[in-house]
Amino acid sequence: MGEQLPRVRVVDAYKDFGSVQALRGVSFEILAGEVVLVIGPSGSGKSTMLRAVNRLEPLTSGDIWIDEDHVTGPDTDIRKIREEVGMVFQSFNLFPHLTACRNIMLGPMTVKGTPKEQAEREARALLKRVGLSDKEHSYPGKLSGGQQQRVAIARALAMGPKVMLFDEPTSALDPEMIKEVLDVMLDLARDGMTMVVVSHEMGFAKAAADRVVFMDEGEIVEIGPPIQFFESPVQDRTKRFLEHIL
């Protein structure tokens, strides 16, 4: 592949919240089709970093590119970029006034002007893909956490994204529902989706991640392939953190 342009490129990203420095010079690149797991202690800037990629959180300084699109550029039409970047939240954030199917149809119909019939067809296919064909007409309030999160993934996929961002997608779930969500994510990863996943699910990391990123205090401390990362970390901070969570 040689000179392949990275799918996501973050260069020297800084983010201040008042006196709190959430990001302090973060740089990394993610190739198309790569699955990257981000771990780190609470408050280390994982969510901030993820949310900077689709500019839900604008950076204080630094640059982000998705393919050749300059996310942080002042004249960039951020909505065009957000269409291509799917995001899945810890708290699902499904639209409670819409059925599962309508949740998925909203984006394509509103943003892309997809005709209703087509949007509905695609939504059904996506619901099938996440194993929820029978929940088409259910409102989010009637779905379990795991089901809601799978609908949320389908909703993001409906826009045909080239990158998917996951911010702790399973940490609000009861243990017995984690697997059904991780299975959907694994399926996506095998399908070649480019994914950035903030999660402490080591099983997922070992099964699907190409690289693991460890963040602490707004910086990237260490990056490596999962086996090397978990079995022989280089940095002391990484070792201490891994002892803590494993």
Binding site: N54, L56, R79, K80, R82, E83, V85, G86, M87, F89, S91, N93, L94, F95, P96, H97, L106, G107, T110, V111, Y139, G141, K142, A152, R155, A156, M159
Partner: protein, 263 residues
């Protein structure tokens, strides 16, 4: 979804007229009041047709006028309230300030004074028909109260809803229209319903501008015949039936929305 249910009870209103949903017995307070008033309205003219039947023939024009003022004012107050609420949460400081000043000023002046002001004081410069002045004053006043209800409702929608919509590529405007407002309407229905009822009752104030609403018609009749007791009894009963009917309607709508999408 306990969280949603908590959110629904944004306390803004005087609530007393919204029937308690637990109260489903045959002799609920609502039923006794509503049917009691209806029976009285039917029975009084039969018992003594002389004043009562005459009164009942005299006031329907007034009911129609009251209805007109109320419905028009509700529509305009809702529109003003929507934009005021959006203004109150706007990120533009100028818009925000304008909306806030409007709310503060209007809430600081009694409705009766506002009615006088728009019809008599401003009337020195622009003469508008009484009915128009009445509707303007009522809408202007209730728009501010509705604005506060809209604001509270909008702010009660979790931040994640806007973020999820933006992340899909929706503009802020699209997100507000498709995601935030539909949820807001459900939440604010009970307090808005209470405002409807309050507005219906307050519409009797417009009789002071000689708009011949229900109260004014009653007054005209009574001052001609000196049958004050009989006339105002009928007027009060008609208001009671109207407000109780409206409150039931609001409660039914609320019930339907609640049933539709809650677990």
């Amino acid at each position: 979804m306990a969280e949603v249910n908590e959110k629904r009870s944004i306390g803004v209103s005087d609530g007393a007229l919204i029937p308690d949903r637990a109260e489903k017995t045959l002799f609920s307070a609502w039923r006794i009041s509503f049917f009691g008033a209806l029976i009285l309205l039917g029975a009084l003219p039969l018992i003594s047709p002389d004043p009562f039947w005459e009164i009942i023939k005299f006031i329907p024009d007034g009911i129609l006028r009251t209805f007109q003022v109320t419905v028009l004012s509700i529509i305009f107050a809702l529109i003003i309230g929507l934009f005021t609420g959006l203004g109150r949460i706007s990120r533009s400081p100028v818009i925000n300030r304008i909306a806030t000043i409007y709310v503060e000023v209007v809430r600081g002046i009694p409705l009766l004074v506002q009615l006088f002001y728009i019809y008599f004081a401003l009337g020195q410069f622009v003469r508008v028909p009484r009915l128009v002045a009445a509707v303007i004053a009522m809408s202007f006043c209730y728009g501010a109260y509705m604005g506060e209800i809209f604001r509270a409702g909008l702010q009660s929608i979790p931040k994640g809803q806007m973020e999820a919509a933006l992340a899909l590529g929706l503009s802020r405007g699209q997100a507000i229209r498709k995601v935030i407002l539909p949820q807001t309407f459900r939440i604010i229905l009970p307090p808005v319903g209470n405002e409807f009822i309050a507005l219906l009752k307050d519409s009797s104030l417009v009789s002071i501008l000689a708009v011949s609403d229900l109260l004014r018609r009653g007054r005209e009749y009574a001052s001609r015949t000196f049958e004050y007791f009989e006339t105002y009894t009928i007027v009060a009963l008609v208001y009671l039936v109207l407000t109780l009917f409206l409150s039931k309607l609001v409660a039914k709508m609320e019930e339907r929305l609640t049933r539709q999408d809650r677990s």
